[in-house]
Amino acid sequence: MKDTRCEPVRRELEELTLNEAFSDSTSEHLSSCAECREFQRQQMKLRQIVSSLGTVNAPADFDFRLRARLAADSQRPSFRYWSFAVKGLATVAVLVVFGVGVVVVWQRGHEQAPIAKTQPPQTPAGPKQPERHQTIPAPAPEVTPTIAINNEPKRKADRSFVVRPKRSLTAVVDLSSERANIISNTMPALNTGTIFPIDASLQSLRVSLDDGRGNARTISFPTVSFGSQRVLTNANQFAPKGVW
């Protein structure tokens, strides 16, 4: 069983130097405690071995190499100057990148704003963004998904809605809900100032087409869901054959 006096004795043995004498109480304890005696023996042996390591001398050319190093060091620009220059360059680079980024973002913002207000070009290209225009241009690539589907010239059902460029046509789209805006047929086809509400696809769709010769057709669709081919097929039943 370890004596409670072992710990302070061992602490004293740890802190003493090799040639330092023990205290009387430590000597007395060591005479009666075999474990502490063994600890003291091992401790002394270990410290003698470690202290015998001695000093390792520097090589003979140490001074020469050090002077060469100092001479080379003095010819380089000072560390402070170099550090300051690097920091300054880094700051300038960051400011330049930031400024370029601001200019690019500003320019893009200005480019997109006028595009949003004008009608898209009159090309029979496929639908792009599903922007909800209330008037169908002739032809109108930027239309709602419902309208965009109708504009695909390959679809049989879309013949009703394909407007040929040589005719000046206007189209009116009526969304039968309180949110839908009805635009009069006097509005020019290129007016794209109004955006369809988001849930337009859930509402029934009525399209009136007037070819300017007094021929007008109004076609009404029930609620159109995405990919509803049957609806479009049914819609053709209302289109008079041979008109388009």
Partner: protein
């Protein structure tokens, strides 16, 4: 006032050890003289501490060439910072602190590099113990000096396996014979922490050196 500006002057510089610089000149006075441009004073400082610093860093890193390089770096840093040196603590504390930081940085770099032990190449494929690179000498040891040499090598290797925070205080205390308060100033910690770490380090060494004790 001697000022070295080119490497060519090295060949023509007078032998520094022959100059009449009194050994009793304190380290502070030598550094003050260095600050004024006296290269001889700095050379005297170097001659006083080069062996100690080289030896200390060698004990820390177990690499002699690396220790010489780091010892030179220590003196270069002392020279660069000569204008900022303050006399609030002893010069030996100051230079040992720089050397300690450099040695610890080197040890950490090695850890990151994860140097592969050469004994790994001699690891048997049947899962046995890895063999030492040095083949054992079958002849009986007859010279006590050889035994001492082997023991010192063993303790140097054992010190090299200590964690870095235990290595520095042990070397400063048991190899260099420095006092606890001096070690605490070098390591920028308290005396109690120094004593505790030295005790732990000796405990580690006792386990590793059991065959030699």
């Amino acid at each position: 006032m001697n000022t070295l500006t080119t490497i060519n002057e090295l060949a023509f510089a007078p032998g520094l050890q022959q100059d009449t610089v009194e050994d009793t000149t304190s380290d502070h006075a030598l550094l003050e003289a260095t600050r004024s441009g006296d290269q001889d004073a700095f050379a005297e400082l170097v001659s006083r501490y080069r062996n100690q610093i080289t030896s200390y860093i060698y004990r820390m890193t177990n690499d002699y060439d690396g220790a010489v390089d780091l010892a030179q770096e220590t003196f270069v840093r002392v020279y660069r910072a000569r204008d900022r040196y303050q006399r609030s603590y002893a010069f030996s504390t100051y230079i040992y602190r720089i050397a300690t930081n450099l040695a610890i940085s080197e040890l950490r770099k090695r850890k990151r590099r994860k140097l592969v032990s050469l004994t790994g190449f001699f690891q048997p494929t049947d899962g046995g113990e890895p063999k030492e690179l040095n083949p054992p000498d079958g002849r009986p040891l007859q010279d006590a000096e050889l035994v001492d040499t082997e023991r010192r090598n063993a303790v140097q290797r054992a010190i090299g396996t200590l964690p870095e925070k235990y290595r520095a205080p042990l070397i400063l205390r048991d190899v260099d014979g420095r006092s606890y308060d001096e070690i605490a100033a070098i390591l920028e910690t308290s005396e109690g922490t120094v004593k505790s770490r030295i005790s732990r380090a000796r405990g580690f060494l006792r386990e590793k050196m059991r065959a030699y004790l």
